[in-house]
């Protein structure tokens, strides 16, 4: 990166200031510059992919305009963006918490599916309970089932050392089959249907829509408060509580944490359970707030997108919130793009994947964008 010297046109005072605050500067680069460059580079590459598949330039222009309009261009767009970001942020918080504790939980998808199913089953089992009680009961069921399902991987890792990546992948695959089976059970399956689909969440179990007074089509629901509460809770848990300190310590250096008297097995199980609870909550919020029922694959890859989100947000609750809003915006804008410009929404998946490549390989971003970084910045840090 020696060539970047010439590109640097900062005045002397600025450079001195930079040197004095070089530590802060590096953190700033890591937290802000890398993600911003990553998003920009991914959007540019997305445009190139559109070009390669025979989409002409005006259409590309229109699709980016539609992307912007569909994500923040109107009240409806903002409502859709926020609605899409709710489960993403909730699941992303769980994954970020896992990363902090040194656990790579790929199983959010399965935890989300089973948590959401538990929420549906719980709410339609007690249709006579009054509104807030039934809603809370559903959310609780989702969180508990998600936590229990994730704990399987946690307990296996703590007692036998089974790697959580493999066990959570397997638990995901198991959950897909399990859901398929559950949705065909007479108690759960919707009456008169032969395909696997569950009964509906009764009105008392739904997360109420917030903006129906303005326009009945606005789908933003009370899950947004749940999301904000979860952000605050995870922030408190990670940075202000004793168990959160244990999570971070065992993530940073498991041996040091163990010598300091932390019980590593307990930390692993607790971290996995908390992550699973958040993923289960994401599933519950999705079925109680948006979908109203469970069907195969209702998670729609949220559990995998959440991995990207947690990386982009640097496993920090506020970062995850921002990343979740961005991904929610891409999701909502992508739908608009498909309608307006006829460009498939699958493009959003490509952009999301590219964002993580650039985030997770800071060396690569620095190689592509040598400017914007202080000289000799150290890369290769794990997210």
């Amino acid at each position: 990166m020696t060539s970047s010297i010439g590109k640097r046109n900062l005045d002397e005072a600025g450079r001195k200031l930079l040197q004095r605050t070089s530590r802060g500067r590096e953190e700033f680069e890591d937290l802000v510059v890398v993600p911003v460059f990553a998003v920009l580079a991914a959007l540019v590459l997305g445009a190139l992919i559109m070009l390669a598949t025979g989409v002409d330039l005006p259409t590309i222009g229109r699709s980016f305009a539609a992307l912007a309009r569909g994500s923040v261009g109107s009240l409806n767009a903002i409502s859709e963006t926020l609605t899409a970001s709710i489960p993403l942020v909730l699941a992303g918080l769980g994954l970020g918490l896992g990363f902090r504790a040194g656990l790579f939980n790929i199983g959010a998808e399965g935890q989300l599916l089973l948590g959401g199913t538990a929420a549906v089953v719980t709410t339609f089992s007690f249709p006579n309970l009054p509104f807030p009680l039934l809603m809370l009961l559903g959310l609780l069921a989702g969180a508990v089932v998600g936590a229990l399902y994730a704990s399987i991987a946690g307990i296996l890792k703590a007692t036998t050392g089974a790697h959580e990546v493999i066990s959570t992948i397997m638990l995901n695959l198991i959950s897909f089959r399990l859901l398929e089976y559950l949705l065909r059970q007479p108690y759960i399956q919707k009456e008169g249907r032969s395909d696997p689909i569950s009964k509906s969440v009764p009105p008392g179990g739904e997360l109420p829509r917030l903006l129906t007074d303005i326009d009945p089509n606005l789908r933003l629901h009370a899950g947004i408060f749940l999301m904000l509460l979860a952000v605050a809770f995870v922030w408190w848990l990670l940075f202000r509580s004793k168990i959160g300190f244990a999570f971070r310590a065992s993530g940073a250096n498991p041996d040091a944490a163990r010598y300091a008297g932390m019980r590593s097995g307990l930390v692993i199980v607790a971290a996995m359970a908390t992550a699973g609870a958040l993923a289960g909550l994401a599933g519950a919020a999705q079925v109680q707030g948006v979908l109203g029922r469970a069907s195969p694959g209702f998670s729609a890859g949220i559990g995998f997108d959440a991995i990207a989100l947690a990386l982009l947000g640097r496993s920090h609750p506020l970062g995850i919130l921002v990343a979740g809003l961005l991904f929610g915006g891409l999701e909502a804008g992508g739908r608009q793009m498909q309608v307006d410009a006829g460009v498939s929404i699958d493009l959003i998946g490509i952009i999301q994947a590219l964002i993580i490549v650039f985030i997770a390989a800071p060396l690569l971003v620095r190689a592509i964008f040598p400017w914007g970084f202080s000289r000799g910045g150290k890369g290769g840090k794990k997210a």
Partner: protein, 423 residues
């Protein structure tokens, strides 16, 4: 393994002995549980028979049907109970794996007898289907073996399979199946190279790199298939490789149709497994590769180029996975559908672990998974009361059990997943 001898041994040996004793107990409990399962759930009425067809009427050599009386299952239950009790009485340290293997094999037989009781069932057809379904899993597992033997964890197999399937369909439609196959192998290799670059040169976390490649390939292939293929169907309509019957060998009853009357991909998978086994365990290059996987520092000191070895093998792994991916389109339906690999790459990863990071092991595990897969299809036809979903879960549950080391021990290469920085 009595306490007296254990006292003289190191702490590690004691732990090892207690681990083995635990395994023997777990295996014994499992075997007795299976005996009860066969006795009470899989019981066939006295006098009922299960008919297995061993050949088709048109075959060159026609074998008579195999007729098994229902009392066979009582015998199976007795054998299982004997093996289980023996685990507890003798500690069973040496025979744990063998007993379990025999136990599981006869449980499967008992299951088939129970499911077909009073009906007839083509054993040959099911074995042939097993082999076909095992192909992508075996090739995925082999790709996993090649990259993990040089200590690069390869979660991206799923994406490589999908990329191979997509390229096979696209290029196969435009330029013919053989070019399509070559392109699928090349694109698989390209993703292997990308994975190697990300983890070796850019030192990205190996699991994140794998997840990213999976997401990226899924995104690109789904995007192109809905953006381009939806309008231009001729770009997604490749000619499929037909089965080639090997003369003489293909006429052997039962194993002939399974092994010698298949398409290119089945033969390819078997040959690749053989080559990989010979290469990894009987050549200089293979020894160096394994050294890089076990102790990269030592290998480096002895003059093995760790980075180059990793690049080479992960690229080769990608090519194998690309070949396996082409099976989905060029070896089966000729058309690409969004996410058509459906997690087969992850099952390949499971097969690799199950097969203890050995090509032949991965192939055997893939055959077991393929068997579970094809039996699941047959179950619906036979109208058994067991939900097919649970049978579908069995391979994953078995993998978790193996990873957790509850039964048997599967040890990854020592440096697996760790980046290496040259000094």
């Amino acid at each position: 393994m009595s306490a007296v001898t254990a006292e003289h041994k190191s702490a590690g040996a004691v732990a090892e002995a207690s681990r083995r004793a635990r395994q023997a107990r777990v295996a014994g409990t499992l075997l007795i549980g299976l005996a009860l399962l066969v006795l009470f759930v899989l019981n066939v009425g006295h006098g009922e028979v299960a008919t297995f067809k061993l050949s088709r009427p048109r075959d060159a050599i026609v074998l008579p049907d195999l007729v098994v009386p229902g009392d066979f299952n009582l015998l199976v239950a007795a054998v299982l109970a004997f093996l289980g009790v023996r685990q507890f009485l003798r500690g069973g340290v040496r025979w744990t794996a063998l007993s379990l293997g025999i136990g599981l094999a006869i449980v499967v037989m008992a299951f088939l007898v129970w499911a077909t009781a009073g009906k007839s069932f083509s054993l040959t057809g099911m074995l042939q289907a097993t082999m076909v379904r095992a192909v992508p899993i075996a090739l995925g597992g082999l790709a996993g073996v090649l990259s993990e033997r040089v200590a690069v964890v390869n979660i991206a197999i799923e994406g490589m399979l999908l990329a191979g399937a997509f390229t096979g369909a696209l290029v196969g439609s435009l330029l013919g199946s053989w070019v399509g196959l070559a392109a699928a192998v090349a694109v698989g290799g390209m993703f292997g190279l990308i994975l190697a670059a990300l983890v070796v040169t850019y030192r990205m976390d190996q699991i994140i790199a794998g997840v990213v490649i999976n997401l990226f390939v899924l995104g690109v292939t789904s995007y192109v298939s809905s953006q381009v293929f939806a309008d231009a169907r001729w770009m997604n309509n490749a000619k499929v490789f037909r089965a080639w019957k090997i003369p003489v060998l293909g006429d052997i009853p039962v194993i002939g149709p399974m092994l010698f009357n298949q398409n290119l991909f089945v033969y390819g998978a078997l040959i690749l497994v053989a080559i990989a086994t010979y290469y990894l365990f009987h050549t200089k290059g293979g020894l160096r590769a394994r050294a890089v996987g076990e102790h990269p520092r030592a290998a480096d000191t002895l003059g093995v180029d760790v980075y180059r070895t990793r690049y080479l093998h992960v690229t080769l792994a990608g090519m194998v996975a690309g070949f396996g991916g082409a099976w989905f389109t060029l070896g089966s339906v000729g058309r690409f559908d969004e996410n058509m690999t459906g997690g087969r790459g992850f099952i390949g990863l499971a097969a690799m672990i199950f097969g203890r990071w050995h090509p032949v092991g991965a192939l055997s595990a893939a055959l077991i998974f393929g068997f579970a897969d094809s039996i699941q299809q047959k179950l619906a036809l036979l109208n058994t009361p067991i939900p097919s979903e649970f049978l579908g879960m069995a391979p994953y549950i078995a993998t978790i059990i193996v990873v957790a080391g509850l039964i048997g021990k599967s040890r990854p290469p020592a440096a697996d997943g760790q980046p290496y920085t040259k000094e």
